[in-house]
């Protein structure tokens, strides 16, 4: 099936001024690739600072003015030009943001869900959507500060399904929720995918992502290091990249073992493999040559020695 979204070699960088007038370019996302088919939930997993939210903003063409974007983004087979994005965002391509700060604090929830449209048809649709997510009808009349964390997330999902989206971009939709509430919110995204939409789930929570995702793309220091089927995560042997394995081993049910070090900040990226300084399988070459993103065992991996099982 034709993918609904196909990202190839996406790079995002920021122009910055450091020390007076000296301008420098700060690469934040480098050579990021992924694709989403209709009916699929693809999770993009990475720790804070790996460039996850920027990916969402790049897809919607709402990056800050001092940023530059390279690479190809195709939506339903056609390149996503700024004009096309402007026409599609908010209707076919929708964003579900993180939390209540994405709602205007001084506007009632109802008008925000309806985007200010007052026709009876829209108001009815709004009420139906609220009911679908188990929100009381008086939610419309509330201000954002009167919503609980879980209600706010459901309101944000409501804004998305008011349209008939083909691509839903969910940017960290669960932090601050307890496991049960988070599970329910993620369930709503699964429903949207089962209804035929493609869902891009951006999260730092691998465990939660695995509960609904079909595929998982792992982000490290601004690049995709592995794209794997959710089923590959049942055993570490199914995984391809040492960082993904480390993530797997760090899950509570798999031993809760962290690896030392931390992700390099943008601007301090090593020349070779970005994971090399922390990699238990690092060899001489890894420090010098930057590995290409390649197919391996039905998935994608950015490692020159993929799939080697750790002892």
């Amino acid at each position: 099936m034709e993918p609904i979204l196909d990202v190839e070699g996406l790079s995002i960088s920021f122009r910055q001024y450091d020390r007076g007038a000296h301008q420098r370019t700060l690469p934040v996302i480098h050579d990021l690739s992924l694709s989403i088919a209709p009916g699929q939930v693809v999770a993009v997993v990475g720790s804070s600072g790996s460039g996850k939210s920027l990916l969402a903003h790049a897809l919607l063409d709402i990056l800050p003015a001092n940023s530059a974007r390279e690479g190809v983004i195709r939506y339903r087979g056609e390149p996503l030009t700024p004009a096309r994005t402007a026409a599609l965002r908010g209707t076919e391509i929708v964003l579900v943001p993180q939390g209540v700060t994405y709602l205007d604090p001084l506007m009632k929830v109802g008008p925000q869900i309806c985007k200010g449209r007052r026709e009876g048809r829209v108001r009815e649709a709004c009420r139906a959507v609220l009911a679908r997510y188990g929100l009381p009808p008086d939610t419309e009349e509330r201000y954002p500060f009167e919503l609980s964390g879980g209600m706010a997330r459901r309101v944000l999902i409501s804004t998305a399904v008011m349209e008939s989206p083909r691509l839903v971009i969910a940017d960290e939709p669960t932090p601050g929720l307890d496991a049960r509430a988070a599970g329910r919110i993620l369930g709503h995204f699964r429903e949207l995918a089962d209804g035929g939409a493609g869902v891009l789930l951006i999260t730092h929570d691998l465990e939660l992502a695995l509960t609904i995702a079909d595929r998982v793309a792992v982000l490290y220091a601004g690049e995709t290091v592995e794209e794997a089927a959710a089923a590959d995560f049942t055993t570490p042997g199914g995984l391809r990249h040492p960082y993904t394995r480390a993530l797997w081993a760090a899950l509570p049910q798999n031993g809760f073992r962290p690896i030392p070090g931390s992700q390099p900040a943008p601007g301090e990226i090593p020349t070779g493999c970005r994971f090399a300084p922390r990699c238990p399988r690092c060899r001489g070459d890894c420090q010098e040559t930057h590995p290409a993103y390649r197919s391996f065992r039905g998935g994608m991996v950015r490692c020159d020695f993929p799939g080697e099982v750790m002892e």
Partner: protein, 331 residues
């Protein structure tokens, strides 16, 4: 509703305390000044021709040697009955002088207040929306120049241009010189008020425009504006739907706190234009050692400024749902 009344009550109580403090400090400062009440009342010449005995009798009459607390309490008990004494210069009750002067200043101040508010918010909105581009730079440049220009200097400049060189507007005062009060038309009044009002407005605009601009920039950088863009709302719609709504509250605060600046500015501007308003009366009272009038003006202007802030606080409660509903929810 109950908590709103409580809130207003508390604020009014604070206002009473503040006025008490202001009057006490002003009274203290004035009693520390080298002014001799006998001399200012009688005049140097009259005092010189009096005998020791007469002077002593007068000192007793005026209460010169009474201790300070007693004098203050005497003034306070009268002031509470709105009797601020008699102005030495105008030979009228202080309240009457203030009433007349306030009436002629009010036109200036209200015009300047409204103009600077409307212009300031408009310019600030425009500058914030075009951040970093030409309109923003022009507006910011204008605001910075104006805020670093003393009001009296600007007044002199306008006076020179429009009254001296172009001759379009009168050079000062509130009515034409040598005209009977009954013959003064409203056009006369208006043409005399234009320059002082414009000067006050121009200086007021800068502050409000710069603050509004900052707020607009904050709003445009906010998560909810980012989300609105992600949902396909246009830049104009975002500014009108989210921008205006969210800068309204800080604008209200600014507008009401700017009252103090308008009053402060009017002292200088009225002086330059010889406009017989409250500001000019304050200067005259200060220079002419008219302590009762000076004290009265200090207390009355403090009350006006405080009432302005109080209105802002109360309006906030009515406009901001987080206060209106939030407080109701918790009480």
């Amino acid at each position: 509703m109950k908590h709103r009344l409580q809130f207003a009550g508390k604020k009014l109580l604070r206002m009473a305390l503040l006025l008490l403090g202001v009057s006490l400090v002003a009274f203290l400062l004035m009693s520390l000044s080298p002014l001799d009440p006998l001399q200012t009342n009688m005049g140097q010449a009259a005092l010189g021709s009096m005998s020791e005995e007469q002077i002593q009798r007068l000192e007793e009459y005026w209460g010169v040697n009474e201790p300070l607390p007693q004098r203050y309490l005497g003034w306070l008990s009268d002031a509470l009955r709105l009797d601020f004494g008699t102005s030495l210069l105008y030979r009228q009750p202080v309240m009457e002088v203030i009433g007349q002067r306030l009436a002629s200043s009010l036109g200036l101040m209200v015009t300047a207040w409204v103009l600077s508010g409307v212009l300031g918010v408009t310019l600030g909105l425009l500058a914030g929306a075009t951040r970093g581009r030409l309109p923003d730079r022009l507006i910011r440049g204008y605001c910075l120049v104006i805020s670093s220009t003393p009001a009296f200097w600007l007044a002199l400049l306008l006076l020179m241009i429009f009254s001296v060189w172009l001759g379009w507007l009168p050079i000062g005062l509130a009515v034409p010189i040598g005209m009977e009060a009954s013959q003064v038309t409203w056009q006369d009044l208006l043409s005399h008020a234009i320059l002082p009002a414009v000067t006050l407005s121009i200086t007021g605009v800068a502050n409000i425009a710069l603050h509004t601009r900052e707020k607009v920039v904050d709003v445009l950088d906010s998560d909810y504006v980012l989300f609105a863009r992600a949902r396909g709302e246009s830049g104009r719609a975002i500014l009108l739907r989210h921008g205006l709504r969210n800068i309204l509250l800080p604008a209200i605060t600014l507008q009401f706190t700017s009252i103090s600046e308008i009053i402060g500015g009017s002292v200088l501007v009225e002086q330059v234009f010889s406009y017989p308003g409250l500001g000019q009366a304050a200067v005259t009272a200060g220079l002419g050692s008219d302590l009762p009038l000076l004290l009265g003006i200090t207390v009355v202007t403090a009350a006006i400024v405080f009432l302005g802030s109080l209105s802002a606080d109360l309006l906030y409660g009515a406009v901001d749902p987080r206060i209106r509903r939030g407080v109701a929810r918790h009480s």
